[in-house]
């Protein structure tokens, strides 16, 4: 298949692995930001092809994993109201809240529907004018333009029964929080190719300067990942820092300006709780006050939603790259995809799920 097979050729992958072996003279620790990258690193066995002196640390770029528990509990509360059609990307449905998840809420009678785009949710609100249609707007800068578009169109169409539960998060503040931590051991980043397709790379330049760290904007296919690692390791070995783009077939320095403009029209930056990590200032998007009529948190009474996180789960340390999933005492024992204690075990971008599903045979 074109545009996929070219990036999965074994001979080319082996060439890059050899080049990395020749390049590396000492141990390095590199974090890939995006959960999609984590999954492909493990699914294709790339982590095991690399020299053992290279440590790959999995980053916080799993939107499902970092969505705060409180918002999942609020989502379930909204979904349980009889006149509501609650819509969400499929990935979010299995994520455990304090006591339940959206799939269980559906099994108990809530009208929870999986959609593939926020615009599908908008179509539902046109089809069912006497129901309240709520879309769970999760994700990084990748999904934000689509969600901004849904809200913008809802106003154009004069829809009064559409709202979003907004849980957007932003990559650069999370990178800064990781780098500023006293426990930090990350020496280079593979930044998320799809986020930067939207946002461009300018906002990463001051981070690379401040922390003197190489940031390589990388794609998702095996050859992308290996090439991104090669570029990052080359910079590390040569003592250079700065932003480099591996994913040139999609990313430019300026990004998608039209998408950015729409996002800024609808959203503004706000402080955001990250599940397992805590509050990071100016790390999320909320609806601007001029768009508040589409904010589900204002439309529904959500008082008295109380949240309780599992005390065993170490998702926070995993999302910050401080620990790897097999180091968690609950991994594969109390915590499995059927009985997740934390979100990284259920999301298709979660690090724990990747290790559980694709990990070593024994």
């Amino acid at each position: 298949m074109r545009f996929v097979d070219e990036f999965r050729r074994e001979a080319d992958a082996q060439k890059l692995v050899r080049a990395i072996e020749r390049l590396v003279t000492r141990p390095w620790t590199i974090m890939e930001i995006c959960g999609g990258q984590t999954h492909n690193l493990i699914k294709f066995g790339i982590d095991r092809l690399l020299p053992p002196s290279i440590t790959l640390v999995h980053g916080p770029g799993c939107p499902v994993c970092v969505t705060p528990l409180e918002l999942i509990d609020k989502a379930i509360r909204i979904a349980q109201q009889p006149h509501v059609i609650f819509t969400s990307f499929g990935d979010m449905l299995r994520v455990p809240g304090s006591t339940s998840d959206l799939l269980s809420a559906r099994a108990q009678g809530a009208d929870v529907r999986m959609v593939y785009s926020p615009l599908d949710a908008l179509a539902l609100s046109q089809k069912y004018p006497d129901r309240e249609v709520v879309f769970f707007a999760v994700g990084f800068e990748t999904t934000a333009p689509g969600n901004a578009m849904a809200v913008w169109q809802a106003r154009q169409l004069g829809l009064r029964n559409f709202s979003i539960l907004c849980a957007h998060v932003l990559v650069p503040p999370a990178m800064q929080a990781i780098l500023a931590s006293s426990d930090n051991r990350i020496q280079a980043f593979l930044a998320a190719g799809h986020v930067c397709t939207v946002m461009g790379t300018r906002e990463y330049e001051p981070i690379a300067e401040q922390y003197r760290i190489p940031i390589v904007v990388t794609g998702f296919e095996p050859l992308d990942l290996l090439q991104g690692l090669y570029i990052a390791l080359r910079a590390l070995e040569e003592g250079r820092w700065g932003v480099e783009i591996q994913y040139t077939r999609s990313v430019t320095r300026d990004g998608n300006v039209a998408a950015q403009q729409l996002m800024h029209q609808v959203f503004e930056m706000c402080d955001r709780q990250w599940r397992g990590i805590g509050l990071i200032p100016a790390s999320g998007y909320c609806l601007r006050s001029s768009w508040a009529e589409f904010d589900a948190e204002r439309r529904f009474d959500l008082s008295g939603v109380s949240t309780q996180e599992s005390s065993i789960c170490i998702a926070g340390q995993i999302l910050q790259g401080l620990k790897k999933p097999p180091q968690c005492p609950a991994f594969g024992i109390q915590c499995t995809p059927e009985h997740p204690l934390g979100a990284p075990m259920v999301s298709s971008e979660g690090a724990c799920a990747a290790y559980y599903q694709y990990g070593q045979p024994g």
């Binding site: 074994e10 493990i42 294709f44 095996p222 694709y358």
Partner: protein, 347 residues
């Protein structure tokens, strides 16, 4: 001894979720913790696609399946042809030639009579193609809103070929794993028609009867054919995991060799689905002893249902109970059983 005083074995799920019907680990839990211990008997405990019963020295295969597909009409078939193919294929996977089918219909009040007629004609054609009569049936009508248009149950009875000795436990190290063509076509064809996901594709379901194919390969392979399995719900990965667990062997796949049509791969890449977990309705996993592998593969390839048959892996001693795969770029990974439904990713 189980009675009503016994606690419910799956107490952590207070209600049934869709994942309990997904063909993955939760379906398996439901079967192994609730159904099998409750009805406990040797024919059931074999947990094959159908039960094998002995009657005066003749082995009978007995299998049942219910069909709830939505939409009822899809590219490459409809619920009627699917209900025939599903059950005759389950019999074929026991090494049996189908003798007769029953058909039960649960109809929803208001269901268009014309659609019912189309579905019946389609069932009739599918059954005639296999040469199996539908000999008994049942009809129930439920109130509007209490069914999804139409559900069909079919049950089949077949006679096991004397030369057939098919059981998941017979998979042995050294055996090879064959498949009769590209995977995941039924699941993706159905998904392409669902509300909210209509995407343009020429893809059709692979729904087809496998009886003739199985009879021919058994003629050549005889008792060297160790396992037959149609990877329906849960896909190839779930079927192979069940076999690996039953036989206490490892199964090693080679990603490069697994046939997947470009249209299916494209849809899976976009949606973030793994074709190994997507349903098939005209595919058969054949595990055979190495000495007959070439001849069996030749026979499958010569058959209309097996033109693109390939060898996709082998049974090994290492990692008993697990399926693992050499990735396209040479890495190794586990191919686990799916825990619930596959859900499309966010970005």
């Amino acid at each position: 001894m189980i009675d009503l005083q016994c606690p419910i074995p799956i107490s952590d799920y207070p209600v049934v979720t869709l994942a309990h019907g997904g063909g993955g680990r939760l379906s398996q839990m439901l079967i192994e913790r609730m159904f099998v211990p409750t009805f406990s008997n040797t024919a059931l405990e074999a947990l094959h696609d159908g039960a094998i019963l002995e009657l005066n020295g003749t082995r009978l295969a007995f299998s049942t399946d219910s069909f709830t597909v939505s939409p009822l009409f899809f590219p490459g078939g409809d619920i009627g042809s699917l209900a025939v193919h599903g059950t005759v294929n389950d019999l074929a996977m026991c090494g049996a030639r189908p003798l007769a089918l029953s058909a039960g219909f649960i109809l929803e009040e208001g269901f268009p009579m014309e659609d019912l007629w189309r579905i019946l004609l389609s069932m009739q054609r599918a059954a005639a193609e296999v040469g199996v009569p539908v000999v008994t049936g049942d009809t129930k009508v439920v109130e509007r809103g209490k069914g999804d248009g139409l559900f069909i149950n079919t049950t089949g009875l077949g006679i096991v070929l004397p030369s057939a000795h098919i059981a998941p436990q017979r998979a042995a190290p050294g055996d090879v794993v064959l498949i009769n063509g590209p995977i995941a076509e039924h699941g993706i064809a159905i998904m392409s028609q669902r509300e909210g996901l209509a995407f343009e594709t020429d893809l059709v379901s692979d729904s087809a009867p496998l009886v003739d194919l199985v009879m021919r390969l058994l003629e050549v392979g005889g008792e060297h054919v160790h396992v037959l399995r149609d990877p329906t719900r849960g896909g190839v990965a779930s079927a192979l995991n069940e076999i690996a667990a039953k036989a206490r062997v490892g199964i090693r796949l080679d990603e490069e060799r697994i046939p997947v049509a470009d249209a299916v791969r494209g849809a899976c890449e976009i949606l973030g689905l793994d074709p190994l977990y997507v349903a098939n309705e005209g595919k058969c996993i054949v595990i055979v002893a190495p000495e007959v592998a070439d001849r069996v593969l030749e026979i499958i390839r010569a058959h209309p249902q097996g033109g693109q048959a390939t060898l996709i892996g082998e049974v090994v001693q290492e990692h008993p109970g697990k399926v693992f795969m050499r990735s396209r770029i040479g890495g190794l990974r586990v191919v686990d059983m799916l825990s619930g439904e596959q859900l499309p990713r966010i970005c």
